[in-house]
């Protein structure tokens, strides 16, 4: 028996959540299928004019990603809360923030990363340029972790509340607006011949800021919810 280091604990939590996600594949697929469906419905709804589709593509993909990432948020802590695992996590002799960070990373790998990987395929439906697709992916790669991190704060705050699912969206979606603006803005900048650097740099800054603060905030929210 050995004492577990902080980093080992982080890996343990990530591995555990990924293992659980693998055993409950349906939950993982709902997010991805929802994303694909919503994005695919737009060309059917607004008609097949390439100019218009190209123009709305980044916004549509980003809004769909935002909504899809809300779907799995309620499950982030709810199962652990219901079966008592969360109590044990609060009693872990290491920082709760690190445990929460582990859960955020696992959540992103399960619900954010598939969206990033799927986005170029969906972008093709909108006749996006290769460069635009690349920037869209980079933007999503920077932005979806922020959605998971902010979402975790919302999920922790609404833990154990009735109707928490709707409430968490109402709480988190407004906070995600900057991510949406800069993410979609980066692709539009490239489309109009400008550099996407400024938008992506701001996204990166938001991601770093979220990485520093959200695990701690979510951990505090969890402690309050457990009372």
């Amino acid at each position: 028996m050995k004492k577990l280091s902080l980093f080992a604990l982080l890996l343990l939590v990530i591995r555990r959540d990924l293992l659980l996600a693998m055993r409950r594949r349906a939950d993982v697929l709902t997010t991805l299928v929802f994303f694909v469906m919503v994005v695919s419905l737009f060309p059917l709804g607004v008609g097949p004019e390439p100019d218009m589709l190209r123009k709305m593509a980044p916004g549509v993909v980003w809004v769909a990603a935002l909504l899809a990432s809300m779907l799995s948020l309620t499950r982030l802590f709810a199962a652990d809360h219901a079966d008592g695992t969360l109590e044990q996590m609060l009693l872990a002799p290491q920082s709760l923030s690190v445990l929460v960070l582990g859960k955020m990373i696992a959540h992103w790998m399960v619900s954010g990363l598939p969206l990033v990987l799927m986005s170029p395929v969906l972008g093709l439906q909108f006749d996006m340029s290769a460069q635009g697709l690349g920037i869209l992916m980079i933007g999503l790669l920077l932005g979806t972790p922020v959605l998971s991190m902010l979402g975790a704060v919302g999920a922790a705050l609404t833990l154990g509340l009735r109707g928490g699912g709707v409430l968490v969206s109402l709480l988190v979606l407004p906070l995600c607006i900057p991510v949406l603006i800069f993410g979609a803005g980066a692709v539009e900048a490239v489309n109009s011949g400008l550099s996407a650097g400024a938008n992506l740099a701001l996204m990166g800054a938001i991601a770093v800021l979220a990485l520093v603060f959200t695990p701690w905030v979510a951990a505090q929210a969890l402690r309050i919810s457990m009372e």
């Binding site: 004492k3 343990l12 939590v13 659980l20 055993r23 409950r24 695992t85 109590e87 009693l91």
Partner: protein
């Protein structure tokens, strides 16, 4: 070691108990008694630091538990009403993960030995979903076998257990107390540890 002085707790606006003081020293076993709704679980949860006491203080080795934080958690084993195990995982994974969360790395061999001792031989690799209530409780209780924490806080540890398992738990508690551990627990079933006097704390 564990000193509780003048503790008061309430649930919402409803006061549960107040002016509660006791001390628990190494090798002592204490049963919290009281009717349903008298605050037994709330007391144990307060001792774990999940709930803030309304008034009073809880001290561990002389320091307030709120200030000790993670150092206190490292010396505490809590088993609550919920088993804190995952239906999707098997008994072995559950035990290894719950020990990991408690800050101890348990290799597969040690985990299998613990599970066999708790009476789950041949069930180690089955998903917990297919086990009975009593067997699930055993998976949760297997943590007691590998825990090195001196303070055990057990909320109804005997629910769903058969006579044989109850005997085994009594033996386990005995070993822990001989090692200089402390146990505070609630139960509605008789639980006596041979050679150790059970102190009783009655919540009115």
């Amino acid at each position: 070691m564990l000193e509780v002085s003048n503790l008061a707790c309430s649930r919402g606006d409803h006061p549960l108990f107040s002016g509660l003081s006791f001390q628990l020293e190494a090798g002592e076993l204490m049963q919290v008694q009281g009717e349903n709704g008298k605050g037994k679980t709330s007391l144990l949860r307060t001792l774990c630091g999940f709930m803030q006491p309304e008034a009073g203080e809880i001290r561990w080795r002389g320091g307030n538990i709120a200030d000790l934080g993670e150092d206190y958690c490292a010396e505490l084993l809590y088993l609550g009403h919920h088993n804190a195990i995952k239906d999707e995982l098997n008994a072995l994974e559950n035990l290894q993960i719950s020990c990991g969360l408690a800050g101890v790395e348990l290799d597969e061999k040690e985990a299998v030995i613990a599970l066999r001792r708790i009476g789950l031989k041949g069930r180690e690799l089955l998903p917990v979903r297919v086990l009975s209530q009593g067997q699930r409780r055993r998976v949760a209780l297997a943590r007691m076998l590998v825990s090195r924490a001196p303070l055990w806080v057990l909320d109804e540890p005997l629910t769903a257990l058969d006579v044989g398992a109850v005997g085994m738990i009594q033996g386990l508690l005995g070993e822990h107390l001989v090692r200089g551990g402390m146990v505070i627990f609630t139960t509605h079933q008789p639980l006596v540890v041979e050679g150790v006097e059970t102190r009783r704390l009655v919540l009115e």
